[in-house]
């Protein structure tokens, strides 16, 4: 590892891993939810996926590598996209969303509604939000900032986002389902196996395969050689640090180990 790369933070590896989720997506709505996801999405658009369309986090579609956090930079508004239009986009499939998850299993079934019993949950969380509709109609990736066996579980308490095993049972009606990557604070996972069982795709520098195995509550498919997550290029680093996240919000979400 070069001395420059030693100065790259864990959060910056997460950002580049998020950006890579959107490579090759062309002209669709890139809709990452959360701080590191938003930075990664805007980085992808500013570097290698220039045709991506992105929101301001509310009802506008805006151009440029607009910064996250407080800014007085004026927005270049491309279009109006209130919630009602957002559902039109989701249901037409022209969107790749990155959501969070409180629990996720080996086939990508996700839960963030509640933990425990349906009628009296141990912990009421977000509810279904848009997870069921998202996962069955557009491409979905996940961002898990706290990779642990409490999140990566053998069985989720509630299926809010649909995994590959359930989608397969739907036949043609489920043909728009697709999960891309699961980016975590430790590495990147995908579903590029014959039966779409979750696979370790890369580890962030400083993390071992054993670390990830220990933090995952089910067996992961394992390639013979697990690569490291790539480092951002110097241009990408400058975009992250100077343009998109000048306040360093990424390091608050993912502290450097």
């Amino acid at each position: 590892m070069s001395s420059t790369n030693d100065l790259i933070t864990r959060a910056e590896y997460c950002v580049i891993a998020v950006a890579e989720c959107f490579r090759g997506d062309g002209e669709i709505l890139c809709n990452p939810i959360g701080t590191v996801p938003m930075i990664g999405g805007r980085l992808a658009r500013a570097s290698f996926s220039p045709d991506l369309v992105m929101t301001d986090g509310e009802a506008l579609l805006i151009a440029g590598p607009y910064p996250v956090g407080p800014t007085d930079q004026p927005k270049t508004i491309e279009a109006w996209n209130p919630y009602r239009s957002m559902f039109d986009l989701v249901w037409s499939g022209r969107r790749h969303v990155m959501m969070g998850g409180s629990q996720i299993d080996a086939f990508g079934n996700q839960n963030f509604a509640f933990v425990g019993d349906w009628d009296q949950p141990k912990a009421q969380l977000l509810g279904f939000r848009g997870a069921a509709g998202n996962t069955i109609q557009n491409i979905t990736s996940y961002w898990i900032p706290n990779h642990s066996a409490r999140v990566f579980v053998p069985k989720v308490d509630v299926v809010t986002g649909v995994g590959y095993d359930r989608a397969a049972k739907l036949g043609a009606a489920g043909r728009f389902h697709g999960l891309r990557h699961v980016v975590t604070n430790l590495g990147v996972l995908d579903f590029e196996t014959e039966d779409h069982h979750m696979r370790l795709r890369s580890v962030h520098p400083g993390v071992s395969v054993d670390d990830i195995v220990a933090a995952t509550g089910f067996e992961l498919a394992m390639p013979s050689d697990v690569p490291e997550t790539r480092a951002p290029t110097p241009d990408e680093l400058e975009l992250i640090r100077e343009v998109i996240d000048p306040h360093g919000l990424r390091d608050k979400e993912v502290p450097n180990p």
Binding site: A59, Y83, Q124, L126, G127, A132, I136
Partner: protein
């Protein structure tokens, strides 16, 4: 010679008039989204009333939370319940975790389809939303329908969400019941009204009909008087939720509201100060709005 033209009726009413129409067990839809443009003066009036066993249908925020905290809710039809800047509505969480409130879990988009189905007077709208998820697998109230066409696909039949009463908050309105939003998103307030038997709209300000159109682009005239039965003038009626451009969310007040879920003592104190204080005018004095 002077002609006297017949005028549309005035629909101006008060929060108390609205509450007087409510019955135990009714299904009430509340517009807005999360902690944004919620008809809070109406919600507080319900919270102060004797009405109980309500089914509340809402893109949930402190409306659903406050009605849970005051024991008004038997069932929540919801896709989320959030204060936006505070991700999880603590009063709603508390009620759920106590097993005090049953739910119909919905996806945000399925919710829109349910309101639309009710507005169009059809029993359901077909959709892929819900396929493969526990929305469908674990709730009898949500069922599937098989396409009668050659594809024969089995889809989700998003059930119509009929409302007895809809409550919404707009920036401006006239006495006839036309309404205007001035922020960036209309949310689904028109659909809430169209899905309901009785429809009440609070507004920041009642203005002359001519001034409504002058106050924004014609597209902002989202609510027409066919959608409403009553108009309530309630300045700061959405407080403490966001009602830009008139006022932002009162974040400090919202933090105090959230903190009041921590102990029964904290809740009693909050309730005494901000609920038992009286009507909306008294509340405005207490909160300085």
């Amino acid at each position: 010679m002077s002609l006297t033209l017949a005028q549309p009726s005035s629909k101006v009413v008060t929060e108390a008039d609205v509450v007087a129409e409510l019955l135990d067990g009714m299904t009430i839809g509340i517009g807005g989204w999360g902690s944004r443009r919620k008809p809070m003066s109406l919600v507080r009036a319900i919270a102060q009333s004797d009405v109980k066993d309500l089914t509340v249908v809402s893109y949930g925020g402190p409306d659903l939370g406050l009605l849970c905290a005051t024991g008004k809710v038997r069932k929540a039809v919801y896709a989320f319940c959030s204060l936006d800047s505070i991700a999880l509505e603590p009063h709603f969480r508390k009620a759920r975790q106590a097993g005090a409130v049953s739910t119909l879990e919905m996806d945000e988009g399925m919710f829109l389809l349910g309101l639309q189905a009710a507005a169009w007077r059809v029993p359901f709208i077909p959709t892929r939303v819900g396929l493969g998820s526990d929305l469908l697998e674990r709730q009898d109230e949500i069922r599937t329908v098989v396409s009668p066409y050659d594809d024969g696909e089995e889809l989700v039949a998003a059930p119509a969400l009929h409302l007895d009463v809809a409550l919404i908050h707009m920036h401006r309105g006239d006495r006839r019941g036309n309404g205007q939003y001035l922020n960036v998103d209309p949310y689904f307030d028109d659909l809430f009204c169209m899905a309901a038997d009785r429809r009440f709209m609070s507004v920041e300000k009642i203005v002359d009909t001519d001034d409504l159109a002058a106050g924004g682009p014609v597209q902002s005239l989202k609510i027409n008087r066919l959608m409403t039965d009553g108009v309530i003038e309630a300045p700061h009626g959405a407080h403490f939720t966001e009602c830009v451009p008139d006022y932002p969310r009162d974040e400090e007040f919202q933090r105090a509201y959230a903190a009041s879920a921590k102990t029964p003592e904290a809740w009693n104190e909050w309730r005494a100060k901000y609920l038992d204080c009286g009507d909306h005018n008294e509340y405005r004095k207490v909160v300085g709005a």
